[in-house]
Symmetry: C2
DNA sequence: TGCGGCGCTTGATCTGCGTCAAGGCGGCCG
DNA sequence: CGGCCGCCTTGACGCAGATCAAGCGCCGCA
């Protein structure tokens, strides 16, 4: 692994001037273990992988890494947005991808080994976690089953995304809402009561509609006598109808 | 896991009466190597992984595997649809997922090791390829870098899907079309000529619109002098405008 | 040669959802 | 206490894209 030698200057242990560099607090750690890539790790494996993990704060415009640097680290965004971009031969900047909260970046190139194919910089105020790929590499060598478990959860993630694409492309807004409600209902302690665990505008963007539309859809379900709306709690009056609407939305929407 | 005992009869190694079981022809092989999971394999690795791969034909309703069987194989659908489903305690069948052409299934559970958590059966006339997980396992042990390459390409696939979700949710139909065309253009030998490698109704569903809409969108691009449409070939007259439309669709759509 | 089917196009119409705008309601702070 | 602000709701309107329907060219087949 030649490129290890080239990263002399920017060692993650040495805080960059503009970027605060701290070990992980508990909340950040929670966000990390919820990521699909780490969800299957044992406590031991996790401590190996996180040996040199560090939380960083970036101001708008701050650089995370530059195109052509050896890909020794990968990153998890916890808040804000990071843009991955190239500079074209003409000097124009071309945005390849925007990375939002909860998403990893540069993990693919780390796995492949090589150099960052793009620049990465903060769009706005960004918090992220950096991982030394070497640590993950060590964990994979020490723990023979780990690679399989990780590949398994990556495969599951892929299935989940493909599914989401199907649902986005096909169903109507009303269907997506009902689907979402039934999801919540399944895990709720009380089969008659749904707790939206976020303000309605967040729910709206989660299912891909504007707050006004969500409001109208809920009103329709209420008018049909299917449920009652009390702020963040929904009282289900007719669960069977609710499920029926999923199959045949034309009866209601 | 009580239900394990119920799977006595149907072992996947024994060909079911209605399902032809053949080695891979060249065309099928092509479809296999194009899959993200195998795209990074060397010829040697590929021959190890495909050692016991076999093409199968299934009639509507034929079973691929049953819930509770040991997950020794995973599958790639080459045509038709497979449904993954569970039987609820009440005897009702609940469809978990539909798997279409080009998609893998049961690969996640193979990686994790364990038992199929669902039943799998053909919806219509289905062609698929079955892989012995043991072969992949062997390849991963023989070829130390392979796991990393595969994880890399899985990570890339995840990024691609997340991206696609963003595009589906945000852009207009026109933008999605242009985006798709530029994608084809990037990999085309001739920068003035795009070959749609499928009938237009397939392209339409790929970008999430009805054939009529696709037809109208292409007509608009033609009227604007940006391209000419000749069946499955598009002649690009003004590539710069095409790119410009992506940024600012209001000029055209 | 004629006919039926299929893929594509085009026009007319319908509709779901976004946008804009105007309140209502509760919480927080001066 | 009063005023402001954020969140939610409701109405009016517009538009992109779906749906319905008709017509065209092409091909396979009788």
């Amino acid at each position: 692994m030649l490129w290890l030698r080239e990263m002399t200057g920017a060692h993650p242990d040495r805080p960059a001037p503009a970027a605060a560099h701290r070990p992980l607090d508990d909340l950040t750690r929670m966000q990390v273990v919820q990521n699909y890539l780490f969800s299957q790790l044992t406590a031991d494996e996790l401590s190996t992988v996180l040996a040199r993990a560090a939380a960083r704060q970036l101001a708008p415009g701050d650089t995370v890494f530059r195109q052509g640097e050896a890909a020794a680290h990968f990153f998890l965004v916890t808040s804000g947005q990071v843009r991955l971009y190239r500079i074209s031969p003409l000097g124009e900047e071309k945005i390849i991808e925007l990375i939002g909260p909860g998403a990893l970046f540069a993990e693919a190139v780390s796995f492949m080994g090589g150099y960052y194919p793009v620049h990465a910089a903060a769009v706005d105020q960004v918090r992220l976690v950096s991982f030394a790929f070497e640590d993950l590499d060590r964990a994979l060598h020490e723990s023979p089953g780990l690679a399989f478990r990780m590949m398994g959860s990556m495969a599951m993630r892929i299935h989940g995304l493909v599914n989401e694409i199907d649902h986005l492309a096909s169903g109507s807004a009303g269907q997506r809402l009902v689907y979402y409600l039934l999801d919540l209902l399944r895990e709720a302690p009380d089969p008659q009561r749904i707790h939206l665990r976020a303000p309605k505008n967040v729910i709206a963007s989660r299912i891909g509609v504007k707050p006004e539309t969500l409001s109208r859809l809920l009103a329709r379900l209420k008018d049909a006598g299917i449920l009652e709306v009390h702020d963040e709690w929904l009282q289900v009056r007719d669960g069977a109808r609710l499920k029926a609407v999923l199959e045949n939305p034309s009866t209601l929407f």
